[in-house]
């Protein structure tokens, strides 16, 4: 049985995943989307592309619970095909990963406001910006379970 690298080379098609920038910037959403896409498409730990269903552009969407499903109602049932998918070909694959908010103008505006807050001018205060320490704590916590304190 060929390993994944060999399969990828044999297929030689380009795997394209389409995602909104705000969904990538929000690491929780990004992580959940990758994980759910991987599970949906047949590779539980990482999305390698070689195991995926080859479909047409914008056939996958993420629902409000960030579950990956086929975009059209008819495809929902058809997507549950045999595994591994026997119709895999070498042509390019494009999988779109819009977030659910993209179907709702008010939610799009809310996301835009949130992103602007992240990229824009700092808020009014003259104290200790905690975000760097929070990130350090997170990384250290993942590695050693040690937290940094609030000092310079």
């Amino acid at each position: 049985m060929p390993d994944r690298t060999q399969v990828a080379r044999r297929l030689s098609g380009t795997v394209r995943v389409t995602m909104p920038a705000s969904a990538i910037h929000n690491l929780d959403t990004f992580n959940k989307s990758i994980a759910n896409l991987a599970e949906k498409l047949g590779h539980p730990r990482c999305f390698s592309g070689v195991d995926c269903i080859f479909m047409q552009e914008r056939d996958f969407v993420v629902d409000p619970q960030q579950r990956v499903k086929a975009a059209g109602a008819q495809l929902t049932s058809m997507a549950a095909g045999p595994h591994p998918e026997p119709w895999a070909t070498a042509r390019p694959v494009t999988i779109t990963l819009p977030t659910a908010v993209q179907f709702d103008l008010e939610q799009v505006q809310a996301v835009t406001a949130k992103v602007a807050g992240l990229l824009g001018c700092g808020q009014c205060h003259s104290g200790f910006d905690w975000r760097f320490r929070q990130e350090l704590d997170f990384i250290v916590d993942q590695q050693l379970n040690i937290h940094a304190g609030p000092s310079f």
Partner: protein, 503 residues
């Protein structure tokens, strides 16, 4: 615009500084928040067009408009405590935001944040002399001329030691307000910080203040770091501050709003319930105001004459330290540069300058990790947090702060690219994140190509770890799209069956 009679301004009530993080509070406790204070520059994005460097999205304004309560525009980008004057494009955007949000007045900080062409990354205290009053008055007049509503100035925090050659804080604020004929946004937590840190007792500060000019009050919590009480907006207000507010508010005849300030990054630790309790405390203060004055006409309260404390000399005539020289020296030291002359040496010896410098570092680091999230994690995990911090410090020593998080992140990304660290996949992660940032800013779709499967790497970084193994070789692309309403096309059954020949 000339200041109207304060009594013409509408009474708005209790409110909260807006960020998207506080929206759950608005939903859970809608009766607690009557007004949202919007910091317009936090909702602008850079355009990378030098002729019009910033833009405000209609989507953002539409979202804020839809939120409950009145809106107040509180600027954080054109402070009016020094010699720098606002740029026309800033004034134009501010006027647009004020009109769109129907803000009854506008406020800005009595501080400065630019010196000799560079941004300081922090609101710094102004030169408190006669010349400083004149410089602030000019800057406030710029705002008054450009905006369709009256202007108030916010009293600032000052971590420096008091100086013999400057006016006391309260006298300076009073003289500026009278000279510019503007309102006062009394940030009582800032005044509390200054008192705790040894500048001027709260009552001494308040004595010369024209209390009828106080239209708005800010309250907040802080934290102690290295012996300084910081204006960190990090939680509940100290009881001592609440007592000061309760004592003062009945003496403010034209107070129209009390705003609680809360930094969103502290919300997860503090919790929404704490903020709700603080808002309830603010409501008791607001009620005390009404009880004290009843519903009758507003009365101008006579104030005490401004009297500088005996131990602090009035400013010299022909002060050699002009506001511009002060801004140059303090600005340079704040961002880690050398400062020339006697004032430079004096300020360098002030431990408060070191505190400001370190706080600026935390701001800058937070902007980088907040925007270049995957790159920062990759560096921290690959090199260790200490080396990552050393990289940041080297970057800071070479480049002054940028006003917007996106600008600071892009400058750090360019620095990393030039540094050419020999880390596998760093260039890939950085290229991807710069593309994400560019799309967030300009709304244009981009495609980033990879010659390996990038998802194991990205997934690992989102989880705070390095991947167990490199991604497999292959051709991969990530198309980064803007957030726009997406129309999902319906798929015809015939076409679908051709795509799935086994069904």
């Amino acid at each position: 615009m000339p200041a109207p009679a304060s009594s013409d301004l509408p009474a708005l009530g209790v409110g909260l500084t807006y960020s998207s993080a506080i929206e759950p509070i608005l939903q859970r406790w809608p009766d607690l928040v009557a007004v949202l204070e919007v910091e317009p520059q936090t909702t602008w994005t850079e355009t990378r067009d030098p002729t019009q460097p910033y833009r405000v999205s209609d989507d953002v304004l539409a979202h804020i408009e839809r939120l409950p309560g009145r809106k107040l525009v509180h600027s954080v980008g054109v402070p009016c405590g020094g010699t720098p004057r606002p740029e026309p494009y800033q004034l134009s955007l501010l006027a647009h935001t004020v009109e769109r949000l129907r803000s009854p007045w506008f406020s800005e900080h009595l501080s400065f944040n630019q010196a000799e062409g560079f941004f300081t990354g922090f609101f710094l205290p102004p030169r408190q002399t006669d010349e400083g009053v004149q410089a602030a008055t000019r800057a406030i007049h710029d705002l008054q001329a450009a905006l369709p509503v009256p202007v108030a100035v916010e009293t600032g925090v000052n971590y420096l030691r008091p100086r013999a050659d400057e006016m006391p804080d309260g006298v300076f604020v009073a003289q500026v307000a009278e000279s510019a004929d503007c309102g006062i946004l009394l940030d009582l937590h800032n005044i509390f910080c200054n008192a705790v840190n040894g500048r001027q007792a709260v009552d001494d500060f308040l004595a010369p203040i024209p209390l009828d000019r106080v239209w708005e009050m800010h309250l907040a919590g802080g934290m102690e770091v290295e012996g300084y009480w910081l204006d960190a907006h990090s939680g509940a207000m100290p009881d001592a501050l609440f007592d000061i507010a309760r004592r003062l508010i009945p003496r403010l005849p034209n107070l129209k709003a009390i705003i609680f300030e809360m930094m969103p990054s502290f919300l997860p630790a503090v919790g929404y319930d704490t903020v709700a309790r603080e808002l309830e405390r603010l409501h008791t203060l607001w009620d005390a105001r009404r009880e004290a004055r009843g519903d009758g006409p507003l009365v101008r309260v006579a104030r005490e004459e401004a009297t500088p404390p005996a131990e602090q000399a009035p400013p010299d005539v022909g002060d050699p330290v002009t506001p511009a020289a002060w801004e140059s020296a303090l600005g340079a030291l704040a961002v880690g540069r050398q400062a020339e002359g006697i004032i430079g040496r004096e300020l360098a010896a002030d431990p408060g300058v070191g505190v400001i410098h370190r706080l600026i570092g935390e701001f800058r680091a937070s902007m980088v990790v907040g925007v270049l999230r995957l790159t920062s994690r990759y560096l921290m995990l690959s090199l260790g947090p200490d080396i990552f911090r050393a990289l940041l410090q080297d970057f800071w020593s070479r480049h002054p702060p940028r006003p917007y998080a996106s600008m600071e992140a892009e400058a750090f990304a360019a620095y990393l690219t030039r540094l050419d660290l020999q880390l596998p996949q760093l260039a890939t992660v950085l290229r991807f994140e710069r593309a994400v940032l560019a799309t967030l800013l300009d709304g244009q779709s981009r495609i980033v190509a990879f010659d390996f499967d990038p998802f194991p790497l990205f997934r690992a970084l989102t989880e705070g770890r390095l991947p167990d193994e490199p991604g497999s070789v292959g051709n991969y692309e990530i198309e980064i799209t803007p957030d726009i309403p997406l129309e999902t096309r319906q798929v015809e059954e015939t076409a679908a069956r051709q795509t799935f020949p086994f069904h």
